[in-house]
Assembly symmetry: C2
């Protein structure tokens, strides 16, 4: 059975020798666009059917139906042979009885009838199906056979499948939301520029809830479970073309098809940064991954080689993942690795100097002109070098002068600002305005370290809302800046 | 001039050859106790004088006077020649006019009159002085000379000095509080078992405020500034004998006397864990430290050798410092390095398996009896190995069974519990009770990974209040447990 979409038959090596480079690039782009179009209905369907919708609050089919009814703008069809109405919404006994076209099907029925339901989807002309149901490959050989059947059906009808055994999709713009945990229990993150895809459903939603708590904006989320059809590479390729996504973060335990993944990743990182958290890095982790999703996580050396070749950024914890993702989502890549540090706490400056060296960056040698200009304005106890320690008595104005000067200094590629917000001379509210006023004056990336507890949390959030990535510790601010330096280097082809 | 206390003349090599080991140990203990007694008045004085107390809200002398008046239980004498009353409290024109004994003096007057004030302290019989004032060694050679004079005066009168150029002391029990940032701006942490000493004042208070925000309990805090007299080693030695302190965390930029510090640290770690965050680890950091506190941070290799020899635990960021400090404050050291992991999210289990191997621990091989006992209770999709993945549908009871079984299993030395709290089957409130019920049933250290945003924050705090260290990410939970394994090894002499 021929199949125009899907990885298996579209990822053949292109016969490039007879074409010019331009023709080849165009042909490749067309192929990519065609493949990506088949993923679009998962995130932006005109209509959706919830198969297995339920009126019982504890049921997965209830939560999913409720999510769509509450916020999805397209057409919604609830399917349940035993109900006439769910959540005051008309219910259809079967998909075939729906009088209109259905683009996306969300399937939450017992494993043994998923095949039957998918056949019905095929006959109805459904383009994409999220199969929430578990009980397939992950549960043994019988399940694996059933999963193979799903793949056969999907090919027969040209339906793209996500799952089975997955949480599915959350799109903060269209509000497709198949996450079957109620919203009071799992907060959905605000709209934003970070796309996040996760092989593990439970870890995925835990990250997502954490992001929501930290008010980190997410464009799209997908948990693709057993990856019977749609896998990490398909999603990566699709997100590369998504105008709402500026940076892509992935949580992987293994990779379905290494060559395909590497080839896609190499293309994507030319335009968007890709951050990858891959567990199973050690022998113990790899064995655990095998028993969890049946993933062969493969050799970590090979994976590291792929990371290096493709220009992805590898991280080891999700705090690190979102720290770096925020920096990449908000700030430009750096033109070079020379960093200026401005601080009102000498100790934090020292810690940042350490991190800068560890992360392969260096402290900028500030120009004589910059230093003499500031010397004329500042009291003698200000340390006029880099890190620039403005002193515990620094007020907003002193920060403003220093920040303005290093922005102008052509020996500086990027800036870390440290503000210990407890000193009486800092006026916190107007400090935010002062920093924001410098936006647009240059394209030098900036990260902020604003230590302290909940007293400073509000200010950190103000900065975040205005796309200045802000961190509570020096190490996190410096590590995040280093991602901007690395990504800048990649973009500049260095 | 003879001086019974203070490091310079008490740290001479003891002539041990003529004594038995027992006698030597006793003599050494006596020496230590004697030295530590001279530090006690900083934290627990019967009476305190605030010299430079002020009625003007913006002044340092106002904030310090207010702190003491609000919460200190001992006698308070405010000294200011130009005021009769401050904050409805009688004011004395000079220290000599105070009719009673003064044990601790807090000096917040301009640098040029500090010497004169200290002479007065000496004549009055003051035992300890915190010199908040700056303008000494850190500001150049004139200041350095003035600082030397302070040291001369302190020796003449046997006064111990903290500072100058410091934030001084905070004691959550006696409420000595010389931190001159108002409490609405800098939250004070609750009482607890972690002592924290910091060379840098600004970084110190930033950490402290962060700890307060995270509700991390602190026993004692000291920022000792230029360390003209009392230094990191003196404080370390004193805290070793402090019954309220279970773990000591230090932030250093350099070490005043390397040999003395190493010798003290080696003794202290036999009884209490010592965590050290030392900046200036790289060339860039060391140069920055030199211009900040004038510290020669020395070679990082040498420092690492000292860390290894003395059994201290080195960290690189303050999040890491307090993560580990909480684990060591609440939980016992582990008997060995075999860890059991229980999770309801497979992905987090895989990440923890990775971290366990990276941190030099290993996944315990659970006993056949443990596994067969659980197999009889659990549905077939539960992964009966280590990490034990209880499945996304795990409820409190399943967690309880698993936790109970690994506590009993003699192949297990410590436990990491991962709870993805978003799944509908978990009842969060009683989950806390369930875990707390296992306390006292064993002495196996336990850390918890409870991912998610502000939804889980409250539960994390509940665990914290009950001394179960709880972290939002797998890496942080595993790293913190590893400190318990390392400290357990040190205590067992391995």
């Amino acid at each position: 059975m021929a199949r125009p979409c899907g990885p298996e038959n579209t990822f053949k090596p292109l016969a490039v020798l007879l074409f010019t480079t331009k023709q080849v690039v165009k042909a490749m782009e067309k192929e990519v666009a065609k493949r990506s179009q088949t993923i679009t209905p998962f995130f932006n369907p005109r209509s959706v059917a919830v198969i297995g919708a339920s009126g019982k609050q504890k049921k997965i089919g209830y939560v999913i139906a409720k999510n769509f009814i509450e916020s999805f703008a397209g057409k919604i069809f609830l399917i349940n042979p035993n109900a006439r109405e769910i959540l005051s919404h008309q219910c259809y006994p079967s998909l075939s009885s729906v009088p209109e076209e259905v683009e996306l099907a969300v399937i939450a029925v017992p494993a043994k009838i998923v095949g039957e339901v998918l056949e019905e989807c095929g006959e109805k002309g459904v383009k994409a199906a999220v199969i929430i149901s578990s009980g397939f490959k992950e549960s043994g050989s019988d399940g694996a056979k059933m999963e193979e059947e799903l793949v056969m059906i999907s090919r027969k009808y040209n339906i793209r499948l996500m799952g089975p055994n997955c949480m599915g999709v959350f799109d903060s713009s269209t509000m497709v939301d198949t996450l079957f945990i109620p919203r009071y229990r799992l907060k959905r993150p605000p709209r934003g520029k970070i796309a996040f895809i996760s092989q593990s459903g439970a870890s995925g939603i835990a990250f997502l809830d954490w992001a929501a708590g930290e008010k980190i904006g997410i464009s799209k989320f997908a948990s693709y479970g057993n990856a019977a059809d749609v896998d990490e590479a398909d999603l990566l390729e699709f997100l590369a073309g998504d105008s709402e996504t500026k940076v892509i973060a992935m949580y992987l335990e293994g990779i379905k098809e290494g060559r395909k993944f590497a080839s896609v990743a190499r293309e994507v990182t030319k335009n968007k940064p890709v951050i990858v958290l891959k567990s199973g890095a050690t022998g113990s982790g790899a064995r655990a991954a095998l028993s969890h999703t049946g993933s062969l996580s493969g050799s970590d050396e090979i994976f590291n080689a792929v990371v290096k070749q493709t220009g992805m950024i590898r991280v080891y914890d999700w705090e690190e993942m979102f720290d770096i993702a925020r920096a990449l989502a908000y700030q430009p890549g750096a033109r070079g690795n020379r960093v200026a540090v401005i601080t009102n706490g000498g100790g934090a400056g020292v810690m940042i100097a350490d991190e800068i060296e560890k992360q392969g960056m260096k402290l900028a040698d500030l120009r004589e002109k910059t230093l003499s200009g500031l010397a004329a304005k500042f009291p003698p106890h200000v340390t006029l070098r880099n890190p620039m320690d403005l002193g515990g008595d620094a007020d907003n104005e002193r920060f403003q002068d220093a920040l303005g000067a290093v922005i102008e200094d052509d020996s500086v590629d990027s800036i870390i600002l440290v503000c210990i917000p407890h000193t009486p001379s800092i006026d916190l509210e107007s400090f935010v305005d002062m920093v924001l006023d410098t936006k647009g004056k240059n394209d030098k990336p900036l990260t902020i370290c604003l230590p302290g507890g909940r007293v400073s949390l509000e200010i950190r959030e103000l900065f975040e809302e205005n796309e200045i990535p802000t961190y509570p510790t020096p190490a996190r601010a410096a590590l995040s800046l280093s991602a901007l330096v690395r990504y800048g280097r990649l973009k500049n082809g260095a």
